[in-house]
């Protein structure tokens, strides 16, 4: 029994990782109505930028916030340079562009910083919070940061004009233009915000998994799983989904005989199961389309 509790708490800690990424995925989905497959790579690249700043002597929190700012600008720039020229292209072509971005960012990170793993510092220290190393201070800090980000986003989308404009621009670009919203600008802004959130996620994740160019590849999948399970239209749902995936992944090791080996398959089965029962995720809103 004690082991189950340990695995659940451990799962919450890893789940916080997935929740972070899931949040940035949903964020960008809300902003541009597309799923960004390069989200993980962008987060990883931002984390490398932070690492480099710290190497050059900048203190942690300085590097932290500067990286967020730089990531915001980079995200904005990517949208304006890469996506604007092709925004009339069909959806499938957009997905190919995400794939291309993935390849470019991953390759550039490996080229600039090599593939050896690098430790990334944590501002929260490594002492245990819940006795006997169940939950480290960093793990708790990660959960807290995710919660704060979620709260800020909620306030942003609900109570600010820009947030409202962004939601309008992505839900219905044509109508939004008619009321004077600069849709292109909103898209780029959304990208910038998603990049910034991704940067935070990356910087929270790296101390646990060690920084290397391929660190986000599977985390992205689990993040997708979390976002889908929670519902792509619901940031809170995505966070919940991320935690759920983390806990369930750990509990999977209790399935006799092959549980430990089949964690990815269990994540897959989970996605399909949830979607079969609730096609828009547990907390997603159903969008009715009229003919």
């Amino acid at each position: 029994m004690e082991q189950v509790v340990q695995q659940i708490i451990g799962g919450l800690a890893t789940g916080a990782i997935y929740a972070c990424i899931a949040l940035s995925i949903v964020m960008i989905y809300q902003a541009i109505d597309h799923l960004n497959f390069a989200q993980g790579e962008m987060a990883m690249f931002s984390t490398y930028i932070a690492w480099q700043l710290i190497q050059w002597g900048m203190p942690y929190w300085g590097a932290f916030f500067l990286t967020i700012a730089i990531s915001f600008v980079l995200g904005y720039a990517i949208e304006r340079t890469v996506f604007k020229p092709v925004h009339n292209a069909p959806v499938l072509s957009h997905i190919v562009i995400f794939i291309a971005l993935f390849a470019i960012i991953n390759s550039m990170a490996g080229f600039i910083w090599e593939f050896t793993i690098k430790p990334f510092p944590t501002p929260f220290g490594t002492k245990s919070v819940l006795g006997e190393g169940l939950l480290s201070a960093h793990g708790a800090g990660m959960i807290a940061v995710t919660g704060i980000m979620l709260g800020l986003l909620y306030l942003f989308f609900r109570y600010t004009r820009v947030g409202l404009a962004m939601r309008a621009a992505s839900a219905n670009p044509d109508s939004a233009r008619l009321v004077g919203i600069r849709v292109g600008f909103m898209n780029a802004l959304g990208w910038g915000m998603a990049a910034a959130i991704g940067a935070v996620a990356g910087m929270m994740i790296a101390p646990v998994v060690f920084l290397e160019p391929n660190m986000m590849v599977t985390i992205l999948l689990y993040g997708f799983a979390g976002a889908v399970v929670g519902g792509l239209t619901s940031p809170g749902g995505a966070v919940f989904g991320g935690f759920a995936v983390g806990v369930l992944e750990n509990l999977a090791s209790f399935v006799p005989h092959f549980g430990a080996e089949m964690k990815l398959s269990i994540a897959l089965a989970l996605i399909i199961l949830v979607l079969t029962l609730k096609p828009h995720g547990l907390f997603g809103r159903r969008i009715v389309s009229r003919v």
């Binding site: 451990g10 593939f115 050896t116 690098k118 480290s136 994740i205 646990v208």
Partner: protein
């Protein structure tokens, strides 16, 4: 008159052909009077791209060889292609190397899946598949695959060394294993189990696999501690090794810890994991660790340092891949030198299978390269070592052990 004139042409043509044949190829594929072509595949992209450093190091090594005059007057043309760690791509690239580029041999192809895919083809075409870059035990089978040879100490023999140590020093211990769920990890586990023999079943109380794709191994580590094991066999690649060492310390688990030698790099694993967490960890080694201050003035190590500075300045000087790449390239260098003018696929394979006590710059003192017609494992000796957290280095102890495991 006419007939005579036309008769000249075939004669000239014949003479020309004979002359060309003489200069171009009385010799083996991949060899001319001025050049030797060496083929290689490495993962430069995709999930295993970290290992691409090895291919880059070897490439730089042969640049150095060329700068110093080549091998018996011939320059080395080292052709390396990216296989993205995908077997179909590996086969395609190797076919290109053999059929388009006409290489002398395929050297240090990396990865068990890729090598499995090309083994049948290369043996069928009688092209040496030399010094494959994987420690899987299946690469030393001269009867079935006479053109395939491994190089590094195979994983099973390493597992057996740990088993022997455990039986001698901790005969009543309980063992927990963390292993990568692929050829590499499973080979290690087999070696350990075989070495423990009848006692394996009662001593091993927990086996936790993980996938390369897993983000962390935290959950496995928690399970291992909960199992009550007091001996830990750690068959993980560098990133996961660092994670596991760190996690063990975090959760307060202090078993007798055996770490596989793929992940012993001080710079890549022990330091990120927190050197103090690594105190007392056991492993084996056969190559000098460049981060170890005891090799500060070592002649061989200084040669390597000079090589890195001049020919591979971008390279990661703390990575064990660069010392590995340098050493295996040096091995081939010496073999080719010994062949003199007679460089053919057969002569290369024969020389590779008859090495006696060859010394290489970075091999630990006492460890030598040895092969024979029935022994296709060039390096079988290893020495146990223990991590010294204070000095941040591995201290060797005990004798040089020959952990012989032949084919499987």
């Amino acid at each position: 008159m006419k007939i005579k004139k036309y008769g000249m042409i075939p004669a000239l043509a014949l003479g020309f052909a004979v002359a060309m044949a003489g200069t171009v190829s009385a010799q083996s594929p991949g060899v001319t009077d001025t050049e030797i072509k060496i083929g290689n595949i490495n993962p430069y992209s995709g999930p295993a791209s970290a290992y691409g450093t090895i291919g880059k190091t070897i490439s730089a090594y042969f640049k150095m060889v060329n700068a110093e005059g080549g091998i018996n007057g011939r320059m080395i043309n080292f052709i390396t292609y990216d296989d993205s760690y995908s077997p179909p791509k590996a086969l395609e690239q190797v076919r290109k190397l053999v059929e388009s580029d006409n290489v002398l041999l395929v050297f240090q192809a990396l990865g068990t899946p890729g090598n499995s895919a090309i083994q049948g083809y290369l043996n069928g075409k009688k092209v040496p598949q030399l010094f494959v870059a994987t420690g899987a035990t299946k690469w030393g089978d001269p009867k079935k695959f006479p053109w395939t040879m491994g190089w590094q100490p195979n994983y099973q023999s390493e597992g057996r060394i740990y088993a022997a140590y455990i039986l001698k020093n901790h005969p009543n211990g309980k063992i927990g294993i963390l292993y990568q769920n692929d050829d590499y990890g499973k080979d290690y586990v087999k070696g350990l189990k075989d070495g423990l023999g009848a006692k394996a079943k009662e001593m091993i109380i927990s086996e936790q696999p993980y996938e390369v794709a897993d983000p962390t191994v935290d959950s496995q580590m928690i399970a291992l501690k909960a199992s009550g094991a007091d001996i830990f066999f750690n068959a993980t690649t560098p990133k996961f090794a660092a994670q596991s060492i760190k996690k063990a310390a975090e959760i307060g688990w202090k078993p007798v810890h055996f770490l596989n030698q793929v992940s012993v790099s001080v710079g890549q694993v022990m330091t990120p994991a927190g050197a103090e967490n690594g105190e007392g960890i056991f492993s084996t080694g056969y190559i000098k660790d460049q981060n170890d201050p005891q090799w500060k003035d070592d002649a061989g190590m200084n040669k390597w340092r000079a090589f890195m500075d001049k020919y591979y300045p971008d390279g990661d000087k703390t990575s064990s891949f660069t010392t590995y790449g340098y050493t295996v390239a040096q091995n081939l260098h010496k073999i080719l030198l010994s062949l003199g003018k007679n460089v053919t696929r057969e002569s290369v394979m024969k020389a590779a299978a008859s090495i006696k006590d060859m010394d290489l710059d970075l091999l630990l003192p006492g460890i030598k390269i040895n092969t024979s017609a029935t022994d296709f494992f060039p390096i079988e000796q290893q020495q146990m070592m223990k991590f010294n957290a204070k000095e941040k280095r591995w201290d060797f102890f005990g004798p040089v052990i020959a952990g012989e495991v032949r084919g499987s």
